[in-house]
Symmetry: C2
Subunit: 277 residues, 2 copies
């Protein structure tokens, strides 16, 4: 059933481009998913797989990849066989796994106004941070993660990997940050910029209503131009000589504080807490 | 004033060993600090510098290193000049900077019982995670970070770097984890293991008294043997399909929840909040 592709096959050239170039991902509306765990998570999350590439010469030694290959076969996804060495040149990782998929980027922007808790990443530059933030967004009940114009690509391989599959499940919006914030405020959200010099300590704010947190670039923080588009700014109080926290750490603290307040409010109203795990 | 060292000089061999081998750091009671920012932070934090190595052939092009060299000169620290290419072979970083110091590891273990909030790292394997945790420990007012027996070396170069200098200021204890927990409980601390399946949701526990949080290995979590040495276990409730959080993210949420509760308790007693920033 599977045809073996040579190293110059155009499908492999496309895989290489999709793995390395954001522009190609945007043009094709497709992205790359590496390894059996992520491929299975994508299938289970309803992500459409266009095709998979299998390093059949090393497949038998990787039980998880064998299971993933069986699952994509059952799902009717076209499969191409390649040599492991050839597949390795097409992907991003240091230790390539025997299965790589090309998947469709979900179409349309996630409806910001329907999400009760939104995380806005403005100009986040490190894909590992972005992926970690998508993961903790899912864990804390964030409904949409909005990637501002200058942020990394949510569908780049490093972000997909750091999200450990959460990017398949958490709706993602993209657009110029100021416009995203205006949409949120028009929908009734309180929009809070996160800054070391923020006017209000984060735990003094009621996050139980529709809320959005805005995290800025790792080196430069949130730009001044966004102030006019926000409700205000919150700070994380820091002791000792620490002047800033890793952006994923700051995001965790805010999103889990919002989740904590919402659990407390539900408990106060006598509602079930709806927790998983 | 500075003597130029050849590539086979025994001082450089020692620098290389201190950078790469935990055993040598323990034997010598010394560790390596790379780059001007960390060297200056160490000086300002009262860390004793034994000697510095300066790549004088590239120093002039690095204004921050020029300032650090001046500061260590004013502090009377012995200086050795080496070629940049030689210094680069002795250190851990991808992009070496023109100044590297050898520093004394602070002697004696930090007094666990005097710290009102303690973070215990049991078998944390990634030095980047350990350093990030030391940093957020300082930011959230943790008094001692205790490195359990199987955790990475707090004075390894990657941990020092990820801590961004916090390891110079936050007291560090080391020892077998079970013994550290016994010491804490004997001193009256509540000792909470952090687990996905923890019995109590973290925000349902009062952390305003003497408290210790125990974080386990990134892959394997907290081992069962520690249960008998702890007060109990707390969980971070997770929504969606997320089964675990990055250990630095989990540590942030717990330590900042303790800090939040303590601020609220102080405010309730009408005390100043004592916040910096």
């Amino acid at each position: 059933v599977a045809r073996r592709l040579g190293s110059r096959n155009p499908r492999l050239a496309r895989l290489r481009h999709l793995s390395r170039r954001r522009r190609r991902r945007v043009e094709d509306g497709a992205f790359v998913i590496e390894g059996p765990t992520l491929v299975l998570e994508a299938l289970e999350s309803g992500i459409t797989l266009e095709e998979v590439f299998v390093a059949s010469d090393v497949l038998a030694g990787d039980a998880a990849s064998v299971r993933a290959v069986e699952a994509v076969r059952a799902a009717g996804v076209p499969r191409w066989d390649v040599d492991a060495g050839v597949l390795a040149t097409a992907v991003d990782v240091v230790t390539p796994r025997p299965i790589v998929a090309v998947a469709r980027i979900p179409e349309g922007s996630a409806p910001l106004h329907e999400a009760d808790l939104v995380l806005v990443l403005d100009a986040i530059a490190d894909p590992g941070n972005a992926g970690t933030l998508v993961r903790l967004a899912e864990a804390s009940g964030v409904g949409v993660v909005a990637f501002g114009g200058d942020a990394v690509d949510p569908y780049g391989p490093k972000c997909v990997r750091a999200s450990a599959g959460s990017v398949f499940r958490v709706p993602v919006a993209q657009g110029p940050t100021a416009r995203l914030l205006d949409q949120l405020r028009a929908a009734g959200h309180q929009v809070w910029l996160t800054e070391a010099s923020g006017a209000t300590v984060y735990d003094q704010v009621d996050f139980t209503g529709p809320t959005a947190f805005v995290l800025g670039n790792e080196a430069h923080g949130v730009p001044d131009q966004l102030r006019a588009h926000a409700t205000g700014s919150v700070s994380l109080p820091m002791e000792g000589h620490v002047e800033s926290l890793n952006v994923a750490v700051a995001g965790s603290i805010l999103c889990f504080e919002a989740a904590r307040q919402r659990r407390a409010a539900r408990a106060g109203r006598g509602e079930p807490d709806g927790l998983v795990g």
